[in-house]
Point group: C2
Chain length 219, copies 2
DNA sequence: CCTCACCGGAACGGATCATTCCGCTCCGGC
DNA sequence: GCCGGAGCGGAATGATCCGTTCCGGTGAGG
């Protein structure tokens, strides 16, 4: 039916716009921006999601699932562990992957659904496996940790420069700039990789996640 | 005199705090945050600067000057162009350099003083010279542009994770991760480096700069 | 022409932030 | 010990932004 088709079309545009806006600007981005990018009114978003938090959670779940799928696909498609790792990195930075949206799950886990937390853990496991395999047999430097990969994602993702084709070009450029260096272990990495808690704080500062939690003191 | 000393002390704490906060959170950071980090009241900031814009400009001028100095120092201290480039990168990411604050001059030049615009141009020139020299004789990959260096700074700077020593550790870690790759030109960089205008847009989205265009206010 | 479903955008209320105002403390002079 | 003023911290103010809700408009089906 025309009507159902129309609704589906709207759903998709809203979700896509939300993914892009959240990925690029963080979860503090205004709903109106999503509406504008989607070419709909704000009310059309609220007609589909009860509030911003639920929209954000939906987007996070979708993006996290997609990253997991990228990891599994990469492993299956490539027997060479380094190639698989490379493929995964490229896959995560492809258009519409919404990689920018998977950091906040590490960044701000307060009040998330079990589903999302489970997905988050699975995503981390998949990345750890890819890294370990590439280190064992692929020449990936041994002192790289999975958390570093997420830091790279965080930096490689949100150019936000212009339109998507150009953004993809920029992601590709900086991925190409960084990837070869990951195999050069002539100089050991100083310091320790961030743990998930620290990564959380690193992402919180950059692009705000949810408004805030309990406003404690003062009055 | 105790009084003069005290005032100087306050000035310094305010400027340092402003540099850190602006560098990590962008120029949209609230003044109250700066005040808190400096351990002073907001009024003490306004007693020294007529408004937020002038404080920001002061910080930008200081940081930009410092980057220029780092570039000149590096060139003079090292005859090997690659070493000079490396030294410059490390120098810019040292504590208190405020590298995060030099991006917005490219990011949002509206209504800046001639002084700052001149410094900005000089800073760009110095970086271009270092890059060209390192490419000519130092093994730096030939397709790296000066704008890429600023993109790297943008990503290497604002961990914001915890306290400064740890932040310095993180900056060092990711600089060490990236630097070796800059000499590996086996795979040419795809896409084009951003021009200054595009870099401006890239920074605008990430961490807000000034509120918006001309906000008349302040009556 | 009427009804129903769905839209876009204006309206509302709360939160945030730049800036100003005010009462307090500390210091030197008497 | 008491007075005047400089300088301070934080509360008060006014404007803006943003999440959410409300409402009048529009097009399809009957």
């Amino acid at each position: 039916m025309a009507t159902a088709q129309h609704a589906t079309d709207y759903d998709e545009r809203v979700v896509n716009a939300a993914r892009e806006v959240f990925a690029q600007q963080g979860f503090a981005a205004p709903i109106s921006e999503i509406a504008e990018l989607a070419g709909v009114g704000v009310a059309s978003i609220y007609r589909r999601y009860p509030n911003k938090r639920e929209l954000a959670e939906h987007v996070r779940i979708a993006a996290t699932s997609r990253i997991i799928a990228e990891a599994e696909t990469a492993r299956e498609a490539e027997s060479d562990p380094w190639k698989a790792f490379e493929l995964f990195m490229h896959g995560c930075l492809r258009e519409h992957t919404g990689i920018g949206v998977v950091l906040p799950p590490h960044a701000d886990c307060r009040g998330f659904s079990e589903e999302l937390l489970t997905l988050r853990d699975r995503m981390i496991s998949r990345v750890e496996e890819l890294v370990a395999a590439a280190q064992h047999a692929g020449g990936l430097r041994g002192d790289l940790r999975a958390a570093d990969v997420f830091v790279l994602f965080k930096h490689l993702n949100p150019p936000l420069a212009t339109d998507e084709p150009r953004r993809a070009e920029l992601r590709a450029r900086y991925l190409a700039l960084v990837l070869p260096g990951l195999r050069d272990s002539s100089v050991p990495l100083p310091g320790a990789a961030p743990d998930w808690e620290e990564l959380r704080r690193m992402c919180e500062g950059g692009a705000d996640s949810e408004p805030a939690e309990e406003r404690v003191g003062s009055g």
